[in-house]
Symmetry: C2
Subunit: 215 residues, 2 copies
Protein backbone atom coordinates (compact mmCIF):
# COMPACT_ATOMS: atom_id res chain seq x y z
CA UNK A 1 0.00 0.00 0.00
CA UNK A 2 1.41 3.36 -1.13
CA UNK A 3 0.31 6.35 0.95
CA UNK A 4 0.17 9.60 -0.99
CA UNK A 5 -0.18 13.25 0.00
CA UNK A 6 -1.39 15.89 -2.44
CA UNK A 7 -0.35 19.54 -2.07
CA UNK A 8 -1.92 22.01 -4.49
CA UNK A 9 -3.79 25.25 -3.97
CA UNK A 10 -6.43 24.38 -6.60
CA UNK A 11 -9.30 22.27 -5.36
CA UNK A 12 -9.93 20.97 -8.87
CA UNK A 13 -6.40 19.61 -9.18
CA UNK A 14 -6.51 17.90 -5.80
CA UNK A 15 -9.84 16.28 -6.66
CA UNK A 16 -8.57 15.20 -10.07
CA UNK A 17 -5.39 13.64 -8.70
CA UNK A 18 -7.40 12.01 -5.94
CA UNK A 19 -9.85 10.44 -8.37
CA UNK A 20 -7.07 9.08 -10.56
CA UNK A 21 -5.06 7.64 -7.68
CA UNK A 22 -8.08 6.13 -5.92
CA UNK A 23 -8.73 3.97 -8.98
CA UNK A 24 -5.63 2.02 -7.92
CA UNK A 25 -6.27 -0.57 -5.22
CA UNK A 26 -2.73 -0.29 -3.80
CA UNK A 27 -2.69 3.51 -3.54
CA UNK A 28 -4.23 5.45 -0.69
CA UNK A 29 -4.59 9.22 -0.62
CA UNK A 30 -3.71 9.93 2.99
CA UNK A 31 -3.60 13.72 3.05
CA UNK A 32 -4.39 16.84 1.08
CA UNK A 33 -3.08 20.35 1.57
CA UNK A 34 -3.79 23.71 -0.06
CA UNK A 35 -0.47 25.36 0.77
CA UNK A 36 3.06 24.48 1.80
CA UNK A 37 2.52 25.03 5.48
CA UNK A 38 -0.53 22.76 5.60
CA UNK A 39 1.46 20.20 3.66
CA UNK A 40 4.34 20.17 6.16
CA UNK A 41 1.87 19.90 9.04
CA UNK A 42 0.17 16.95 7.38
CA UNK A 43 3.50 15.17 6.87
CA UNK A 44 4.40 15.72 10.51
CA UNK A 45 1.05 14.38 11.65
CA UNK A 46 1.23 11.23 9.53
CA UNK A 47 4.76 9.80 9.35
CA UNK A 48 3.62 6.92 7.15
CA UNK A 49 3.17 8.95 3.96
CA UNK A 50 5.38 7.52 1.21
CA UNK A 51 4.97 9.91 -1.69
CA UNK A 52 3.97 13.57 -1.96
CA UNK A 53 2.66 15.29 -5.09
CA UNK A 54 3.60 18.93 -4.69
CA UNK A 55 2.79 21.94 -6.83
CA UNK A 56 5.36 24.70 -7.04
CA UNK A 57 2.93 27.63 -6.94
CA UNK A 58 1.23 27.60 -3.59
CA UNK A 59 0.38 30.37 -1.13
CA UNK A 60 2.11 30.79 2.26
CA UNK A 61 4.99 28.48 1.37
CA UNK A 62 5.80 27.44 -2.20
CA UNK A 63 6.44 23.86 -3.18
CA UNK A 64 10.20 24.13 -3.55
CA UNK A 65 10.68 25.72 -0.16
CA UNK A 66 8.36 23.15 1.41
CA UNK A 67 10.39 20.36 -0.18
CA UNK A 68 13.58 21.78 1.27
CA UNK A 69 12.10 21.97 4.76
CA UNK A 70 10.94 18.41 4.40
CA UNK A 71 14.54 17.27 4.77
CA UNK A 72 14.43 18.15 8.45
CA UNK A 73 11.52 15.80 9.10
CA UNK A 74 12.22 12.14 9.88
CA UNK A 75 10.47 9.62 7.62
CA UNK A 76 9.83 12.38 5.09
CA UNK A 77 8.04 11.21 1.94
CA UNK A 78 9.59 11.23 -1.50
CA UNK A 79 8.47 14.33 -3.39
CA UNK A 80 7.19 14.51 -6.93
CA UNK A 81 6.93 18.10 -8.07
CA UNK A 82 3.87 18.34 -10.31
CA UNK A 83 3.49 21.68 -11.98
CA UNK A 84 2.40 23.44 -15.16
CA UNK A 85 4.46 23.62 -18.30
CA UNK A 86 5.13 27.27 -17.50
CA UNK A 87 7.20 26.21 -14.54
CA UNK A 88 9.40 23.68 -16.28
CA UNK A 89 12.40 25.96 -15.78
CA UNK A 90 12.27 25.06 -12.11
CA UNK A 91 13.28 21.48 -12.74
CA UNK A 92 16.88 22.03 -11.65
CA UNK A 93 15.80 23.93 -8.57
CA UNK A 94 13.35 21.18 -7.72
CA UNK A 95 16.03 18.53 -7.97
CA UNK A 96 18.37 20.65 -5.90
CA UNK A 97 15.61 21.01 -3.32
CA UNK A 98 15.47 17.25 -2.95
CA UNK A 99 12.60 16.28 -5.23
CA UNK A 100 12.72 12.77 -6.59
CA UNK A 101 10.36 13.42 -9.44
CA UNK A 102 9.30 16.25 -11.74
CA UNK A 103 6.03 15.90 -13.66
CA UNK A 104 4.08 18.30 -15.86
CA UNK A 105 0.36 18.56 -15.20
CA UNK A 106 -0.48 17.84 -18.81
CA UNK A 107 0.75 14.27 -18.43
CA UNK A 108 -1.70 11.38 -18.64
CA UNK A 109 -3.39 9.68 -15.71
CA UNK A 110 -1.32 6.58 -16.44
CA UNK A 111 1.86 8.64 -16.26
CA UNK A 112 0.86 10.02 -12.88
CA UNK A 113 0.14 6.62 -11.42
CA UNK A 114 3.33 5.18 -12.87
CA UNK A 115 5.34 8.07 -11.43
CA UNK A 116 3.92 7.49 -7.97
CA UNK A 117 4.77 3.79 -8.11
CA UNK A 118 8.26 4.50 -9.47
CA UNK A 119 9.14 6.99 -6.78
CA UNK A 120 7.62 4.81 -4.06
CA UNK A 121 9.99 2.06 -5.21
CA UNK A 122 12.95 4.34 -4.59
CA UNK A 123 13.50 5.33 -8.21
CA UNK A 124 13.27 8.78 -9.74
CA UNK A 125 11.10 10.06 -12.56
CA UNK A 126 11.26 12.98 -14.99
CA UNK A 127 8.75 14.23 -17.54
CA UNK A 128 10.19 13.77 -20.99
CA UNK A 129 9.80 17.48 -21.72
CA UNK A 130 12.28 18.50 -19.04
CA UNK A 131 14.90 15.78 -19.29
CA UNK A 132 16.72 17.85 -21.87
CA UNK A 133 17.37 20.61 -19.40
CA UNK A 134 18.62 18.13 -16.86
CA UNK A 135 20.98 16.52 -19.32
CA UNK A 136 22.30 19.93 -20.35
CA UNK A 137 23.17 20.61 -16.76
CA UNK A 138 24.83 17.25 -16.38
CA UNK A 139 26.90 17.88 -19.48
CA UNK A 140 27.86 21.32 -18.22
CA UNK A 141 29.10 19.92 -14.93
CA UNK A 142 31.20 17.33 -16.67
CA UNK A 143 31.09 13.58 -16.92
CA UNK A 144 30.32 11.42 -13.95
CA UNK A 145 33.35 10.88 -11.79
CA UNK A 146 34.28 7.75 -9.99
CA UNK A 147 33.25 9.76 -6.96
CA UNK A 148 29.60 10.00 -7.96
CA UNK A 149 29.35 6.37 -8.85
CA UNK A 150 31.04 5.05 -5.74
CA UNK A 151 30.05 7.24 -2.86
CA UNK A 152 26.32 6.80 -3.25
CA UNK A 153 26.43 3.07 -2.75
CA UNK A 154 28.00 3.44 0.67
CA UNK A 155 25.88 2.75 3.73
CA UNK A 156 25.28 5.71 6.08
CA UNK A 157 27.84 4.47 8.54
CA UNK A 158 30.43 3.91 5.85
CA UNK A 159 29.83 7.44 4.64
CA UNK A 160 30.53 8.70 8.15
CA UNK A 161 33.80 6.81 8.22
CA UNK A 162 34.79 8.04 4.77
CA UNK A 163 34.16 11.64 5.79
CA UNK A 164 36.46 11.24 8.78
CA UNK A 165 39.12 9.61 6.65
CA UNK A 166 38.90 12.65 4.42
CA UNK A 167 39.41 14.85 7.46
CA UNK A 168 42.70 13.08 8.10
CA UNK A 169 41.71 11.06 11.14
CA UNK A 170 43.35 7.71 11.82
CA UNK A 171 41.43 4.62 12.84
CA UNK A 172 41.87 5.21 16.56
CA UNK A 173 40.45 8.71 16.29
CA UNK A 174 37.55 7.55 14.14
CA UNK A 175 36.73 4.92 16.74
CA UNK A 176 36.68 7.54 19.50
CA UNK A 177 34.64 9.98 17.46
CA UNK A 178 31.98 7.43 16.51
CA UNK A 179 32.06 5.49 19.78
CA UNK A 180 33.13 2.30 18.04
CA UNK A 181 35.77 -0.33 18.59
CA UNK A 182 38.86 -0.36 16.44
CA UNK A 183 37.69 -3.62 14.88
CA UNK A 184 34.46 -2.07 13.69
CA UNK A 185 36.25 0.91 12.25
CA UNK A 186 38.60 -1.36 10.36
CA UNK A 187 35.66 -3.31 8.99
CA UNK A 188 34.01 -0.13 7.75
CA UNK A 189 37.25 1.14 6.28
CA UNK A 190 37.80 -2.10 4.41
CA UNK A 191 34.26 -1.92 3.02
CA UNK A 192 34.73 1.72 2.01
CA UNK A 193 37.97 0.93 0.20
CA UNK A 194 36.34 -1.96 -1.63
CA UNK A 195 33.26 0.00 -2.67
CA UNK A 196 35.14 3.09 -3.74
CA UNK A 197 37.86 1.16 -5.51
CA UNK A 198 40.52 2.86 -3.43
CA UNK A 199 43.74 1.04 -2.65
CA UNK A 200 44.34 2.70 0.71
CA UNK A 201 42.96 5.44 2.92
CA UNK A 202 44.89 8.11 1.03
CA UNK A 203 42.88 7.44 -2.10
CA UNK A 204 39.72 7.34 -0.04
CA UNK A 205 40.62 10.70 1.53
CA UNK A 206 41.09 12.25 -1.90
CA UNK A 207 37.76 10.80 -2.95
CA UNK A 208 36.06 12.19 0.14
CA UNK A 209 37.40 15.67 -0.56
CA UNK A 210 36.36 15.55 -4.21
CA UNK A 211 32.91 14.35 -3.20
CA UNK A 212 32.57 17.32 -0.86
CA UNK A 213 32.23 15.18 2.26
CA UNK A 214 34.71 17.45 4.07
CA UNK A 215 33.98 21.12 4.78
Amino acid sequence: MIRVAIADDQQLIRDGFGLILRTQPDIHVAAEAADGRQFLDAVRRDPRIDVALVDIRMPVLDGLQATRELAAIPHAPAVIVVTTFDDDAYVLDAIASGARGFLLKRCSAADLVAAVRTVAAGEAVLSAEVTGAVLDRVRATGPATRVDLAVHQLTPRETDVLALIGAGLNNTEIAERLYLSMSTVKTHVTNVLAKTGSRDRVGAAILAIQAGLTP
Copy 2:
Protein backbone atom coordinates in the same frame (compact mmCIF):
# COMPACT_ATOMS: atom_id res chain seq x y z
CA MET B 1 79.33 41.80 -5.27
CA ILE B 2 75.73 42.47 -6.32
CA ARG B 3 75.19 42.79 -10.08
CA VAL B 4 72.30 45.05 -11.03
CA ALA B 5 70.41 45.69 -14.26
CA ILE B 6 68.40 48.88 -14.82
CA ALA B 7 65.44 48.95 -17.20
CA ASP B 8 63.78 52.33 -17.77
CA ASP B 9 62.93 54.27 -20.90
CA GLN B 10 64.11 57.57 -19.44
CA GLN B 11 67.82 58.22 -19.78
CA LEU B 12 67.75 60.54 -16.78
CA ILE B 13 66.37 57.85 -14.50
CA ARG B 14 68.90 55.26 -15.62
CA ASP B 15 71.75 57.70 -15.03
CA GLY B 16 70.41 58.69 -11.63
CA PHE B 17 70.00 55.11 -10.47
CA GLY B 18 73.45 54.30 -11.84
CA LEU B 19 75.09 57.18 -9.97
CA ILE B 20 73.44 56.18 -6.71
CA LEU B 21 74.31 52.52 -6.98
CA ARG B 22 77.87 53.09 -8.09
CA THR B 23 78.57 54.89 -4.84
CA GLN B 24 78.38 51.47 -3.23
CA PRO B 25 81.59 49.43 -3.46
CA ASP B 26 79.75 46.10 -3.44
CA ILE B 27 77.22 46.98 -6.16
CA HIS B 28 77.98 46.79 -9.86
CA VAL B 29 75.66 48.09 -12.56
CA ALA B 30 76.02 45.36 -15.17
CA ALA B 31 73.42 46.33 -17.72
CA GLU B 32 70.99 49.05 -18.78
CA ALA B 33 67.97 48.80 -21.03
CA ALA B 34 65.47 51.30 -22.44
CA ASP B 35 62.63 48.86 -23.04
CA GLY B 36 61.44 45.44 -21.96
CA ARG B 37 62.81 43.62 -24.96
CA GLN B 38 66.31 45.06 -24.50
CA PHE B 39 66.07 44.16 -20.85
CA LEU B 40 65.27 40.51 -21.52
CA ASP B 41 68.10 40.33 -24.07
CA ALA B 42 70.52 41.77 -21.53
CA VAL B 43 69.48 39.22 -18.92
CA ARG B 44 69.93 36.39 -21.39
CA ARG B 45 73.39 37.67 -22.33
CA ASP B 46 74.61 38.01 -18.75
CA PRO B 47 73.33 35.21 -16.50
CA ARG B 48 75.15 36.62 -13.49
CA ILE B 49 72.79 39.54 -12.89
CA ASP B 50 71.36 39.33 -9.38
CA VAL B 51 68.85 42.18 -9.21
CA ALA B 52 66.87 44.10 -11.83
CA LEU B 53 65.30 47.52 -11.35
CA VAL B 54 62.38 47.63 -13.78
CA ASP B 55 60.00 50.45 -14.64
CA ILE B 56 56.43 49.56 -15.53
CA ARG B 57 55.98 52.06 -18.35
CA MET B 58 58.36 51.12 -21.11
CA PRO B 59 57.95 50.90 -24.89
CA VAL B 60 57.89 47.62 -26.86
CA LEU B 61 57.35 45.49 -23.75
CA ASP B 62 56.17 46.90 -20.45
CA GLY B 63 57.84 46.07 -17.17
CA LEU B 64 55.19 43.70 -15.87
CA GLN B 65 55.12 41.62 -19.03
CA ALA B 66 58.91 41.54 -19.09
CA THR B 67 58.93 40.33 -15.48
CA ARG B 68 56.54 37.53 -16.35
CA GLU B 69 58.68 36.41 -19.28
CA LEU B 70 61.70 36.42 -17.01
CA ALA B 71 60.38 33.33 -15.30
CA ALA B 72 61.27 31.28 -18.37
CA ILE B 73 64.95 32.25 -18.17
CA PRO B 74 67.31 30.22 -15.98
CA HIS B 75 69.24 32.21 -13.37
CA ALA B 76 66.78 35.06 -13.76
CA PRO B 77 67.47 38.02 -11.49
CA ALA B 78 65.15 39.13 -8.72
CA VAL B 79 63.01 42.02 -9.93
CA ILE B 80 62.29 45.26 -8.12
CA VAL B 81 59.57 47.19 -9.89
CA VAL B 82 60.44 50.88 -9.55
CA THR B 83 57.74 53.17 -10.82
CA THR B 84 56.00 56.48 -10.27
CA PHE B 85 53.35 57.12 -7.65
CA ASP B 86 50.76 57.14 -10.41
CA ASP B 87 51.38 53.47 -10.99
CA ASP B 88 51.06 52.29 -7.41
CA ALA B 89 47.83 50.51 -8.30
CA TYR B 90 49.93 47.99 -10.16
CA VAL B 91 51.52 46.66 -7.01
CA LEU B 92 49.33 43.55 -6.90
CA ASP B 93 49.90 42.89 -10.59
CA ALA B 94 53.63 43.30 -10.09
CA ILE B 95 53.67 40.79 -7.26
CA ALA B 96 51.56 38.41 -9.29
CA SER B 97 54.03 38.80 -12.14
CA GLY B 98 56.83 37.61 -9.90
CA ALA B 99 58.40 40.84 -8.68
CA ARG B 100 60.19 40.60 -5.38
CA GLY B 101 60.09 44.30 -4.69
CA PHE B 102 57.94 47.35 -5.42
CA LEU B 103 59.46 50.82 -4.98
CA LEU B 104 58.18 54.28 -5.78
CA LYS B 105 60.56 56.59 -7.59
CA ARG B 106 60.16 59.26 -5.00
CA CYS B 107 61.99 57.15 -2.45
CA SER B 108 65.41 58.23 -1.19
CA ALA B 109 68.75 57.04 -2.51
CA ALA B 110 69.31 55.17 0.73
CA ASP B 111 65.98 53.37 0.25
CA LEU B 112 66.99 52.32 -3.23
CA VAL B 113 70.32 50.92 -2.13
CA ALA B 114 68.75 49.17 0.83
CA ALA B 115 66.09 47.65 -1.41
CA VAL B 116 68.71 46.25 -3.78
CA ARG B 117 70.64 44.70 -0.90
CA THR B 118 67.47 43.28 0.65
CA VAL B 119 66.28 41.64 -2.53
CA ALA B 120 69.76 40.37 -3.34
CA ALA B 121 69.72 38.64 0.05
CA GLY B 122 66.57 36.76 -0.95
CA GLU B 123 64.13 38.97 0.97
CA ALA B 124 61.32 41.10 -0.41
CA VAL B 125 60.71 44.83 -0.13
CA LEU B 126 57.68 47.10 -0.43
CA SER B 127 57.39 50.89 -0.40
CA ALA B 128 55.48 51.96 2.66
CA GLU B 129 52.90 53.75 0.52
CA VAL B 130 51.72 50.55 -1.14
CA THR B 131 51.84 48.08 1.73
CA GLY B 132 48.28 49.03 2.62
CA ALA B 133 46.96 47.75 -0.69
CA VAL B 134 48.87 44.52 -0.26
CA LEU B 135 47.54 43.99 3.23
CA ASP B 136 43.99 44.65 2.02
CA ARG B 137 44.39 41.93 -0.53
CA VAL B 138 45.79 39.55 2.06
CA ARG B 139 42.87 40.26 4.34
CA ALA B 140 40.42 39.73 1.49
CA THR B 141 41.86 36.34 0.67
CA GLY B 142 41.63 35.23 4.26
CA PRO B 143 44.17 34.44 6.91
CA ALA B 144 47.26 32.46 6.12
CA THR B 145 46.63 28.77 6.24
CA ARG B 146 48.98 26.18 7.58
CA VAL B 147 49.34 25.32 3.92
CA ASP B 148 50.94 28.61 2.95
CA LEU B 149 53.31 28.60 5.86
CA ALA B 150 54.47 25.05 5.44
CA VAL B 151 54.62 24.31 1.74
CA HIS B 152 56.96 27.12 0.83
CA GLN B 153 59.74 25.91 3.06
CA LEU B 154 59.90 22.59 1.27
CA THR B 155 62.82 21.88 -1.04
CA PRO B 156 61.93 21.36 -4.72
CA ARG B 157 62.33 17.63 -4.40
CA GLU B 158 60.19 17.49 -1.31
CA THR B 159 57.51 19.46 -3.15
CA ASP B 160 57.57 16.85 -5.92
CA VAL B 161 57.07 14.11 -3.38
CA LEU B 162 54.26 15.98 -1.66
CA ALA B 163 52.45 16.47 -4.95
CA LEU B 164 52.59 12.75 -5.66
CA ILE B 165 51.38 11.95 -2.17
CA GLY B 166 48.44 14.24 -2.90
CA ALA B 167 47.78 12.27 -6.06
CA GLY B 168 47.38 9.13 -3.99
CA LEU B 169 50.61 7.37 -4.94
CA ASN B 170 52.31 5.06 -2.47
CA ASN B 171 56.03 5.11 -1.81
CA THR B 172 56.85 2.44 -4.37
CA GLU B 173 55.07 4.35 -7.13
CA ILE B 174 56.70 7.61 -6.12
CA ALA B 175 60.10 5.92 -6.32
CA GLU B 176 59.34 4.65 -9.82
CA ARG B 177 57.97 7.97 -10.99
CA LEU B 178 60.95 9.99 -9.74
CA TYR B 179 63.60 7.33 -10.46
CA LEU B 180 64.54 7.09 -6.80
CA SER B 181 65.10 4.30 -4.35
CA MET B 182 62.48 3.49 -1.76
CA SER B 183 64.87 4.69 0.93
CA THR B 184 65.17 8.12 -0.62
CA VAL B 185 61.44 8.44 -0.98
CA LYS B 186 60.98 7.56 2.65
CA THR B 187 63.53 10.16 3.64
CA HIS B 188 61.74 12.82 1.63
CA VAL B 189 58.37 11.77 2.99
CA THR B 190 59.64 11.96 6.56
CA ASN B 191 61.00 15.46 5.89
CA VAL B 192 57.73 16.55 4.27
CA LEU B 193 55.71 15.31 7.22
CA ALA B 194 57.99 17.09 9.66
CA LYS B 195 57.96 20.39 7.77
CA THR B 196 54.24 20.41 7.10
CA GLY B 197 53.35 19.26 10.60
CA SER B 198 51.43 16.32 9.21
CA ARG B 199 51.17 13.14 11.22
CA ASP B 200 50.95 10.80 8.25
CA ARG B 201 50.66 10.86 4.48
CA VAL B 202 46.89 11.30 4.66
CA GLY B 203 47.30 14.69 6.28
CA ALA B 204 50.02 15.53 3.78
CA ALA B 205 47.72 14.54 0.92
CA ILE B 206 44.98 16.83 2.23
CA LEU B 207 47.53 19.62 2.52
CA ALA B 208 48.73 19.04 -1.02
CA ILE B 209 45.20 19.27 -2.36
CA GLN B 210 44.45 22.44 -0.40
CA ALA B 211 47.70 23.96 -1.64
CA GLY B 212 46.71 23.24 -5.21
CA LEU B 213 49.64 20.94 -5.88
CA THR B 214 47.29 18.45 -7.53
CA PRO B 215 45.31 19.27 -10.69
